[in-house]
């Protein structure tokens, strides 16, 4: 298990969008997925996740729908919208550029 690490400021939206780009998930599922993908290195606070979800829903990046889970519970599933996909691309590009620049500075300095 990797060392636990706080989420970098402003990256939660991108991560959530990215996770959702693979298919619909509920809030719990998103957290599970994030932890799983980061090999439990990333700890996402519920207190940050839900406000972020509602905010993105409000902006039209994701859509929510009440569905029944595999073990017969009602849960709210989120899917990416077209606008969300675009937003993900923008954020991804921004992120790539940023990390590249930072990496370059760190290496050459």
């Amino acid at each position: 298990m990797a060392k636990k690490c706080d989420l970098l400021q402003g990256t939660l939206d991108m991560l959530v969008l990215r996770v959702l780009s693979r298919g619909e998930l509920h809030g719990w599922g998103i957290i599970q997925k994030l932890e799983q993908l980061s090999q439990r290195a990333l700890q996402v606070e519920e207190g940050s996740l839900y406000p972020a979800l509602y905010r993105m829903e409000e902006k039209g990046w994701i859509e929510a729908e009440w569905k029944v889970t595999e073990n017969n519970r009602r849960a709210k599933y989120y899917t990416l919208t077209r606008a969300g996909r675009k937003q993900l691309e923008t954020e991804q590009a921004g992120w790539d550029r940023m990390t590249a620049i930072i990496a370059q500075v760190m290496q050459s300095a």
């Binding site: 809030g27 519920e46 839900y50 979800l53 509602y54």
Partner: protein, 861 residues
């Protein structure tokens, strides 16, 4: 949302349970991990769009709570807003009702009034011959209609005779205005010839009041001036619009006898034109002016020196004083609002200062600027809504008052409807006011330095020097405005009082006046009229308690509108149209005794000055001076200008000048009297001077006497001369009442303002006073200090306001040339009054300075 989060929690718990954590434990751990459910939900909610509404509701609930916790502030603020905006709304409804609301005619922008200006009268009217010439000449410049209005008597058998205000119009008046009768028909061609003109169209008001709005009224007869007329139509309610012809009870067609049709001297026709789009407004106006010039050249005897002009119909709804009155009303009500605003600002400032510590603490705990501002804005909005509602109530009340106050003799009312425009104005004004004066201090508060406020403990609420300066300049401004308001109202009240009590050349004690109109049918010629006059005066003079009675064409109360030109014997004749003009009043022979007009030389009219006797005149003092200088006028001869056959009459007496109580006229015109018997009039002013008895007790006896003479003859407006005077200037007295109310309002608000700020200063300086007292200052010293500070503010404001007050009294003097204006006295009085009020308002809190218990206050430190 809650369900979604519950699902999450349960999943987590299940997850933990799967890891081997026992059920109860797992739940708690899940809770721990999740954090505060409520706070997360709240934060989540914040990100949603509709939360704006929810948050606004919360803000408003909070604001309500805050306002309820400070009832004094709330009541004062709402009351101040309500009064200030209410005064403004009421005045705006007047402006709206008079000037902004379009006239109820079709395409009224194309409608214009024509006026004929002469040296005596700027807004004069037209003679039948001029009107007929104009009808022939106007050709392609559009359509024109003429009308005249006057008093007639209505006498249905078995009902007491009444006077009615009746119009006569050209056949096309209603079609030109674009108004069709709601019942029956319009006039038909041919009904403008004498004999066929006994048809009448009723106004909606007359139809309702006199005929109960019954539809079978068409075809019935109405006896007007003793002649039966057939009712052919009823005008729609829109025609009741008081701004124009709405006060007319009914219309008959204008029908000229051949003799009347060629008359160029009697100018009673009003003319309205509807322009055609074929010509521009300027072209039409040019044509009208040119036509007037042509008439003046062609008929100098009647028209020399007269000019024609065209004025948009919409602007003619008010007389010439109207716009000035409107500006005064709107301007002064604006001042009231400004005073109210600055009061509000002071109130708000005080409240925000008092809460400064609370804001500082909240800001220190991380509240954002927006979070601090929102409740303040919510409070302002609530206050403005409540204030606006109060203002509406005030405006409604004013509407009812003005309707009652303006009720005329025929039951007509001037009604200022509160339409959408007025409502919009009210709430826009209250919103702007509350936001501008609620937000400004709020912003002020947010500029406070947190540290200073927190450090200075409970006393941090005093605010900085700048705040105190701000509050004081508001008070100075208030007093300046109050000064202008008070001075304006004062000058006007005093002026109107003097005007109403001006009796130049006559006396009003023990005097009764009334109007009567002899119908043409039974009183066809001069002999019949004179016979009635003699009989009526004989009977009236014989009544017990009557000192003398007279009949005349005019009374000294009002201006005499008719002027005639005269030749003076033994003088070179000036070119036609430039002879001296004088107002002529035909009077019965006891007229001068009855009105108390003093005879200065010669003799009054006597019983022997009858129709067949040599013509005689009595002239006024200024006429004598103007026509004959210092020479003796008695025995000189005058002749009215009329073609070549001059009829000379001898001047037998000189009487003092008479000045009316109207506000418009400036200098006194030349006045000439002639015996009523030598120029009998159908329209008469009756005057009775009583001996000692209270004149009003004679009213019924005079009515009975006249009814015995002719039951069809109504005597209108039979009342004491003093009451008639008050009635004559009643429009001005409405204005006076409004001005007085606004001045009182302004004064009250200003007093409240200075009281508030002094009371606050007192509360803030208690410690200082305690120290002063402890160090040996006497209570008088401290009280005087407080008083001096307040009076200084009031005095500064009043002196600044004096400048504006001079302006207002100038404005009044120039718009009401007939009104005596005593600026200086009123201004001095006003200043003293303001200082006195300020002293009193400061004394109330200053009194408390003496009650400061130095030991207790200092120990509390």
């Amino acid at each position: 949302m809650a369900e979604e989060m519950r699902f999450h929690l349960e999943q987590r718990a299940a997850d933990l349970a799967a890891d081997g954590v026992p059920g109860e434990e797992a739940h708690r751990a899940a809770q721990r991990r999740f954090g505060n459910l409520g706070s997360i939900q709240e934060r989540a909610r914040d990100t949603r769009g509709w939360c704006g509404l929810e948050r606004a509701c919360k803000d408003f609930r909070g604001a309500l709570h805050q306002l309820a916790r400070a009832p004094g502030f709330t009541v004062l603020a709402i009351g101040t807003l309500g009064l200030g905006i209410g005064a403004n709304t009421a005045m705006f409804s007047v402006l709206n009702g008079i000037l902004l609301k379009p006239l109820p005619y079709a395409d009224s922008a194309q409608l214009d009034r024509l006026y004929r200006a002469t040296a005596q009268q700027a807004d004069g009217h037209f003679s039948p011959a001029d009107w007929r010439d104009f009808q022939r000449a106007r050709a392609s410049y559009g359509d024109a209609a003429a009308y005249a209005a006057g008093h007639t008597s209505l006498s249905d058998p078995g009902q007491p005779a009444e006077m009615a205000y009746a119009g006569r119009s050209s056949l096309n008046l209603f079609s030109l205005l674009g108004i069709a009768p709601q019942l029956g028909r319009d006039f038909r061609p041919g009904e403008d010839t004498p004999g066929r003109d006994r048809v009448v169209i009723l106004s909606q008001r007359t139809w309702t009041n006199r005929f109960g709005g019954r539809p079978d009224v068409i075809g019935r007869t109405l006896r007007i001036d003793g002649e039966p007329h057939q009712i052919i139509g009823v005008l729609p309610a829109a025609f009741n619009d008081w701004r124009h012809l709405g006060m007319v009870d009914f219309f008959r067609p204008l029908a000229f006898t051949p003799e009347q049709a060629t008359d160029r001297l009697g100018t009673s026709l009003r003319v309205i034109v509807r322009r055609t789009p074929a010509h521009s407004r300027a072209e039409t106006a040019g044509f009208i002016a040119g036509f007037g010039t042509r008439l003046a050249a062609e008929f100098p005897a009647a028209n020399a020196g007269s000019t024609w002009r065209m004025v948009s119909l919409q602007t003619t709804v008010v007389d010439r004083q109207g716009p000035v009155m409107m500006k005064m009303l709107i301007g002064l009500s604006g001042f009231v609002l400004l005073i109210a605003c600055s009061n509000l600002a002071n109130l708000y400032l005080a409240r925000t200062m008092a809460r400064a510590r609370e804001f500082a603490v909240r800001a220190a705990l991380g509240a954002s600027r927006a979070q601090l501002l929102r409740p303040l804005i919510a409070e302002s909005l609530l206050l403005s809504l409540a204030g606006g509602a109060c203002a509406l109530i005030l405006a409604l009340w004013f509407r009812d008052w003005s309707a009652v106050r303006s009720t005329g003799e025929n039951g007509e009312q001037v009604f200022f409807a509160l339409d959408g425009r007025v409502l919009g104005w009210t709430f826009a004004a209250s919103l702007v006011t509350a936001l501008a004066f609620g937000l400004a201090p709020a912003l002020f508060a947010l500029r406070l330095d947190l540290n200073t406020t927190l450090k200075s403990g409970g006393r941090g609420a005093t605010g900085g020097r700048a705040h105190q300066h701000f509050g004081r300049s508001l008070i100075i401004g208030q007093f300046a405005l109050a000064m202008i308001l008070l001075a304006g109202a004062g000058v006007f009240i005093r002026g109107l009082h003097d005007l109403n009590h001006r009796r130049t050349g006559w006396e009003s004690e023990r005097l009764l006046t009334g109007t009567l109109l002899l119908p043409a049918a039974p009183y066809a010629g001069p002999e019949e009229i004179s016979a009635f006059h003699r009989l009526a005066l004989e009977r009236l003079s014989a009544l017990p308690g009557v000192a003398s009675a007279s009949l005349s064409a005019f009374t000294p109360l009002l201006n005499w509108p008719d002027t005639r030109r005269f030749h003076v014997e033994g003088r070179e004749r000036p070119p036609a149209g430039h002879e001296p003009a004088a107002a002529v009043n035909p009077v019965s022979h006891h007229y001068f005794d009855t009105f108390g007009t003093r005879l200065l030389a010669g003799r009054p009219f006597l019983d022997r000055d009858r129709a067949g006797a040599p013509r005689v005149y009595v002239i006024s003092q200024s006429a004598a001076r103007s026509l004959f200088g210092t020479a003796n006028p008695i025995g000189r001869r005058l002749a009215p200008v009329a073609g070549d056959n001059l009829v000379w009459g001898q001047i037998v007496g000189v009487v003092s000048d008479v000045r009316s109580i109207e506000s418009e006229t400036g200098p006194v015109a030349l006045q000439i009297y002639q015996p009523m018997a030598q120029d009998p009039q159908r329209r008469n002013e009756l005057a009775v001077r009583t001996t000692g008895l209270a004149p009003s007790s004679l009213v019924d006896r005079i009515r009975t006497t006249m009814a015995e003479l002719d039951p069809d003859l109504p005597v209108r407006r039979l009342q004491t001369a003093d009451a008639a005077v008050a009635r004559a200037n009643y429009q001005l007295s409405v204005l006076r009442d409004i001005l007085a109310a606004m001045a009182l309002l302004g004064l009250g608000l200003a007093a409240l303002g200075i009281y508030g700020i002094m009371a606050r200063t007192m509360a803030q300086r208690t410690d200082e006073f305690a120290i002063r007292l402890a160090l040996g200052a006497t209570i008088e010293n401290v009280t005087r200090m407080v008083l001096a500070a307040g009076v200084k503010l009031a005095l500064t404001g009043s002196v600044l306001g004096l400048l504006g007050a001079f302006g207002v009294s100038h404005l009044i003097a120039s718009s009401f040339p007939g009104m005596p204006v005593h600026g200086t006295g009123v201004l001095i009085g006003t200043t003293l009054l303001l200082i006195a009020i300020a002293l009193f308002a400061c004394w109330l809190p200053a009194r408390r300075a003496g009650q400061v218990d130095a030991i207790a206050v200092l120990r509390a430190e």
